[in-house]
Symmetry: none
Subunit: 221 residues, 4 copies
DNA sequence: GATGAATGAGCGTTCATTCAT
DNA sequence: CATGAATGAACGCTCATTCAT
């Protein structure tokens, strides 16, 4: 696929407080415009207007529209990852059953913070280049700690490949939550949490009635 | 979010053979351009050029760029749904263990047919209006037959709400497959099938070690 | 001003009845489309569709869009001129007072025949080339007979230059009628006729209170 | 008749001097292009080129081609109305005979200022929406002061309905002047003024030989 | 002839980006 | 540095006209 080269990293490290403030204002304005206009109709001029700065200033800090949107995606992703990692950290010593519920609850809550922005990030912004961070961050930032946690709970698990299992579950849970949000399907919060917790626990720890016992499990037990 | 109204339904039913051929050529060209240029860089003039017709001809059959892309998404979605439904139909009389594997295998295969087009559809095309059909079709076209199948196998299940379970599984499997494809993660086909089958079977039929047995299951056993 | 050369005369003399019928149908359809869509939005394809023929056939008879519109203008102008000339002919032996009223009544009626088409012809169709016939025909077709009539009534007149006076009156009456129609101003038919007749008669035959008597009139009287 | 909605009001009030200059340049260029190419062949890109600015700049100030043309029509109409109103104001205390001549002279002069632009405005630009201002302004801007003037001279008049008479005369004079200009008919300026003045005075103040005297006139005299 | 699918030059318009002030 | 007027490549789309069938 053809790709053009555009700068996507912020043009300057804002050392002064005022600059930092301006950058924040611009990112915030971008988020608002993305939500109100949608990705395709969002324009840099509109963002500048909403931010209360001139386009020129905007381009002082962000070298391209893409970098602007990337900043929003980054911020949103950072926020979600933060919530997730905190939950995982808090679950560190908990048994799987409770740990899973804690993490899933965090993910459910994470989707409720800025649901509209999340929708735009997930549905309208092309997941190309830096713009795809939202899902990639799940793999690069959330999964490792989860893998570590699961490894610490390996004795409870039936799955062989913890990394693969994490990959499967993280994306399954994320996608189900997103689809519920996106289709405005009415699923009570606790039902959702119960169901996703069940999905995780059974996949990780249960064996289907006629499922052949795993080699290593057999050996261990 | 602001949305403008654009015609997205085909402009005329092509009655003559020549027209029908032209329409097919155009849709095919659109798919090719989407893959080679990406959604944002795809232009109607380029599509016409690749199709070997004039822009005018293109607009005889498709009233807008959006309708053009919608046709591609539709065709792709139709194709996948067809594969899925056939698999589900074929699984109708099979026990869950085998049925699940059959359906999942079909989904894996479905993602291998036009993987690059699938990526564009799933990652670059904004899921707005008719363009969101790909995922919606899972709910509207694939899920009902799956629900029916699972209901016929209700005696094997531990889940209470079959519709919700189907929703969870369909999107989980779809997303995992898509992420594997999209991140070029190397997972052998049979491992993938095994893992996803395990996910489904355990979620549907197993009980986690310390999971409180469900009311109705208890009664039955 | 730049002008392009386009054929504007009908491509063929329709000798056969069927052809003539087709031509009529097309001209009629053009008129209808002009009224319903306006000049700028009227397209040859739409005209063909309304006429129930193919664009190809349309171009067999009319070499360009301009020729199509010209045919409508011509037909409309012909019709009006016909009405006017008949009135003038009928007034030939009447004294000015009655003759003027007869002709003006005809002009009023002429504007009521196809008022919507008249509006389009007068307001939307650029009066360039053959498309300007509507007003030109007043000068070339209606005025000469009027001049002749007025010359036969010269003894009643105070105006020196009958041709100029005719020019003045014809366009004055035409324009007033058109503006009344166009602005949807409510002026009862007989008030309009009375007023325009007064305009004509006074201009042609009266002398303003302190107007210096004309040389030739002085001599004559 | 079908009409689409297009923005026709200027997009932004030019606050800075540079902007104002640009706007003027663009309007001037539009007028030049309208004259040189005609309305239908005039394009926004050509206007921008002639104005020496980019299309983008043009669209900063004018949201559509129609608004561009409307600005030219407005400017032209404003100019003419200004000339007319000044003449009417100057005639305020004059007796009808002289007042009529003053106003008519102004109208004749008004048609000589930018005759080619006037032709385009009157003959090629469709009188639809804001584009029809030229003639409408006669009614809304010129007529009221004329009516007032005539009312102040009511004792000299034979016409009953001063508003109707003004409507008749304003459009008559305007149209005759325009037709003379448009057909390149050679009529010496003073002949034209004499003739139109005669038209007005006789219509307003004279009684045709066998015309029944008006009720109120009879009473008065 | 008649058809209507095909043509393609060219339109109005947008918007990311630049740069004179 | 900030401003915002200016830029112009490039887009989606129209429609008078042609020509293979």
């Amino acid at each position: 696929m053809a790709t053009r080269k555009v700068r996507t990293s912020p043009r300057k490290r804002p050392t002064q407080d005022r600059s930092k403030q301006t950058v924040d204002t611009i990112v915030e304005a971008t988020a608002r415009v993305l939500v109100s206009e949608g990705y395709e109709r969002a324009t840099t001029n509109r963002v500048a207007e909403v931010a209360g700065v001139s386009v020129g200033s905007l381009y002082q800090y962000f070298p391209s529209k893409e970098s602007l949107v990337a900043a929003v995606v980054d911020r949103h992703s950072d926020h979600m990852m933060c919530v997730f990692r905190e939950a995982i950290a808090g679950a560190a010593t908990l048994p799987l059953r409770e740990g899973a519920r804690v993490v899933i609850t965090a993910m459910v809550d994470g989707h409720d913070v800025e649901p509209e922005l999340h929708r735009v990030c997930a549905e309208q912004i092309p997941r190309v280049g830096r713009l795809g961070r939202l899902l990639e961050d799940l793999d690069t930032h959330a999964s490792p700690s989860l893998v570590a946690y699961l490894q610490s709970r390996a004795h409870e698990l039936v799955v062989k490949d913890i990394e693969l299992a994490t990959f499967v579950l993280v994306h399954s849970v994320e996608t189900v939550l997103h689809r519920v949000l996106s289709t405005r399907r009415v699923v009570p919060r606790d039902v959702l949490i119960d169901e996703l917790t069940a999905l995780c626990l059974r996949y990780l720890t249960a064996t289907a009635p006629d499922e052949p016992a795993r080699a290593q499990r057999t050996v261990r037990s």
